[in-house]
Symmetry: D2
Subunit: 307 residues, 4 copies
């Protein structure tokens, strides 16, 4: 099998490696040359495509083009640009983190041109190269058939960790919700560790505690594995790490999707909001509260020049 990957960032490059190591030829394209050359040096079944035109030259029909680009404008523009160059029966895969509603619009446009469109939500982070990725694919059966061999190769095993879950958009939707769940699980774990740490009279070793939970306990999970390892490596005080937690589109879209559907998703949403709070250096809401307490109760407010 032969397919092209567009976008050789952390995810795209590693997926190219995993495919190549499994014997699938990857036509590798990227805006800049560096990542292409690196792949070429390190992996066997890589065909470089420094220009977009090279991709079309290297692929035979039906061509499979797999986008691993930043969601939003960049992905949309790539689809606009590529579609006129593709032929009926070709296959376009969006393996990035696009918002499912945009994906549905993309699918409509692409399928109208007779090109198969598939959205592939991809989980696994930097560990996917070694362990395989969890892959959630949306699109038609006919389109999926074209990429199934690649999906089986990217997955942890040919028969697990992947699924063709539904029509176009459903892959990204499922991946989005996966991330929402991840937010909640992470927040739960972080809160638990924060309470353990605050109970200073027990002088707990959180690297030990997380390590022992890894086997036999109800909270055993991959996130826990990573947490235990990192606490050992960083030192449990984490003094060097700033308490600012970034968030991503998928966390926000999950919360919004739940609202649009009228489903209560309080824990997933709150996990997102606690990240917002961690990013908030102004603390305006808290200033308002301190001010109110002063106004009704005469409670002292700390003023900047006092503290």
């Amino acid at each position: 099998m032969k397919l092209a990957i567009f976008g050789l960032g952390r995810m795209g490059a590693n997926m190219a490696r995993r495919l190549s190591r499994g014997g699938i030829t990857v036509v590798a394209h990227n805006r800049s040359r560096g990542p292409i050359d690196e792949l070429l040096r390190e992996e066997e079944h890589i065909v470089p495509a420094y220009e977009e035109a090279d991709v079309f030259r290297e692929l035979d029909g039906p061509r499979v083009i797999w986008l691993m680009l930043p969601a939003g404008e960049i992905t949309s523009q790539a689809i606009e640009r590529l579609l006129p160059q593709m032929s009926p029966g070709d296959v376009l895969v969006d393996g990035g983190n696009s918002r499912y509603s945009e994906t549905m619009a993309h699918a409509e446009r692409v399928e109208a041109a007779g090109v198969h469109f598939l959205d592939c939500g991809t989980s696994g982070g930097v560990w996917g190269l070694k362990n395989g990725y969890s892959l959630m694919v949306g699109g038609t059966k006919a389109g999926f058939a074209h990429i199934e061999p690649a999906i089986r190769m990217l997955a942890p095993t040919p028969d697990s960790g992947w699924g063709h879950v539904g029509p176009a958009g459903s892959g990204h939707f499922t991946k989005m919700i996966h991330n929402g769940i991840e937010y909640g699980m992470m927040q739960a774990m972080a809160e638990g560790l924060a309470v353990l740490r605050k109970k200073s009279e027990f002088d707990l070793d959180l690297a030990q505690v997380t390590e022992l939970w890894r086997e036999g306990s109800v909270v055993q999970s991959w996130l826990l594995d990573l947490t235990a390892d990192a606490l050992k490596q960083e030192g449990q005080g984490l003094e060097a790490i700033q308490p600012h937690v970034a968030d991503s589109g998928e966390g926000r879209w999950t919360a919004i999707a739940a609202i649009d559907l009228g489903v209560a998703a309080p824990v997933m949403t709150l996990a997102l909001q606690m990240r917002f709070a961690s990013q908030d250096d102004e603390g305006y809401g808290n200033r308002v509260l301190a001010m109110m307490r002063n106004a009704f109760g005469g409670h002292v407010v700390q003023r900047r020049d006092e503290s």
Copy 2:
């Protein structure tokens, strides 16, 4: 009528003033002399009691002793100390912010000695002197009858803003829940203002917005009145105020009482927790989250030395 107030802090002193101005004689006792002398200078119907013994000398039976002391040990010890000096038919009022479960234990002990015990939850803050207090009283009917004239005088009007709500403990319980509601209302308002402020393209004047909501809107409330006034006075940026929000026993006890009763009180509880978050300078949980994101996704963590 004549009664003794123990504890001339902000609340106790103002209550003594309001009673005195209404013609009720207040035997005023405090650990230190200052607040007694101040009351004596400024109000008419004040009898100073520099020592506890003076209180018993100045009051005729049935004596009414009204505690306005910090909740917890100080209030408990005062009850222990006073009870042996009181006579059956006397009246002991706890007007402070005691936890209702402790109040129930106090009541049992005091009533067993033949002394009436009443718990009086008191809301109104620094505005109570002028506007009157909202008073929630727990205890027996017989006991309540002794203090009803004082209650009517402390309240905004003789016929409103007070109630004998139930048996011993119910006054403090009702006041506690009142504060839980207050936490939730404050947090809702603070969040709303924070969102308005973040929408910088509209360049809203939050002093104007809160002022206009004061009449006709669904959110009109005393908290809004205070907020609007304070935003005008402080300047809407609140730059001088630190974003640290203290919490009090009643907020915590409300959350715990809801858990003990198995009732969902998520908004009241979350309002408390957001205060905890505002007080958290270590941010351990957030460090854990930043570390996890790095561990699974290779996401950059900000380190102390970089920022």
Copy 3:
């Protein structure tokens, strides 16, 4: 002054009444005749406009047309239909509950035609007729000048309860956040009452408790006034009322706007989500939880046929 109101639902009809009673002539238009005739019978300064064309006949330039229509498609279509019939210098007001982002698009279109566009967020519910409305207006100064007399008449007093808060969209944005705050305040109050009720040993009378909080307490508010009155009228058990709480666009949009801005608004959002939970008759998430508990702990699940 003379202006036209389009849409004589509960809000539009009452606003027409209040304007008419203040001496402003209202050209009243509605899809169906009934509400026009009712206004005509009951109020003095009403000019009926059974057809849209009548509105243009009755108004002299600059014409002020005030839409009080359901948000979304109906409002958008009305603007599309009316705009070509309006002349430069005329004034179009959207007094409904449109989403502020749609309002900004409407404003751009309308202003491009030389017609003033104003968005007027309106709070006050069924009480506005008597007490006046709280009005938050967005748009240009020049546009606002045309409607200021009407705004002063609709407001509780000519000098309070209204504001020209910023550019187009800011009126609806401010009203939207107002509703978000309202959601939080309501939820806080409902939770507090639920905890009080569950504390059955105190046998509290919640009509009494809410009534006494109305004066002197920190939670005094219009929502509390309504709650106290309703508890008296309905009976505190509220047995006849279903525990299903509807939500509206503004509650949802507030939560989404906070996410879009990256501001934590957990209490406002959670209040919305608790409404979703109240509407959820399937309880799928809870079934999943019950199933999980069974799977790891052997905990009994209640099955349909058992209960």
Copy 4:
């Protein structure tokens, strides 16, 4: 090695089996005979102790008595009853789910008599027999040395899944927080599945989705494994399962401990509160909200007789 287990419920009996199968002799005691006889029939190294006195007869000093009893009164009474019969140097283990604060009081009492006291938080549910238990032990080093062989046998492997985490109470505290994290993780997963289900246009197969997440994804976890299996077994609709989710002491105590420590634990707490909401058949808070909406906005309330 030889030790006694008191209490042969689901957890105690399975622990006895696992120890016996590893070659440790278990003196098995239970209030009723049935579970003792069952163990005796099925396992090799079991010594029956139908009366408490039998336990003391069968054990040589230093005796190890391991309580697997319901937390609270029953555990406290057992300790009271057993302590006078034990000798200095003997070892008492509380392997149940006692509240850590009670455990600390027990430890003080027991250690004062010269008897070692250890608290052993135990996770693993019905799967522990096969997979081993995750064990968090609090107490002195000297005491721990006596039970280490049994701990290594109960754990998934002799060198993993267990830890002596700190002084008396710290084992139960750590286990309690473990359960709090579990609540949060479960709720996150349940919410995610509820959103996926509500997105009916994608017609997702949740058994498939959870199955594919089990390998390679960030949310892979034991809870997910169980969920995927259960969805396959039950059918993804879960129609037969009631949406009522029970809660346990540890979930409540975690939330209260966080409040006592002043640490924000919003997700763990909210997960608990959503369980309370699932248990709430009266819906009083929601009735209040529906009533309020009617009071200020004239919104229709559904009444019992209408629906």
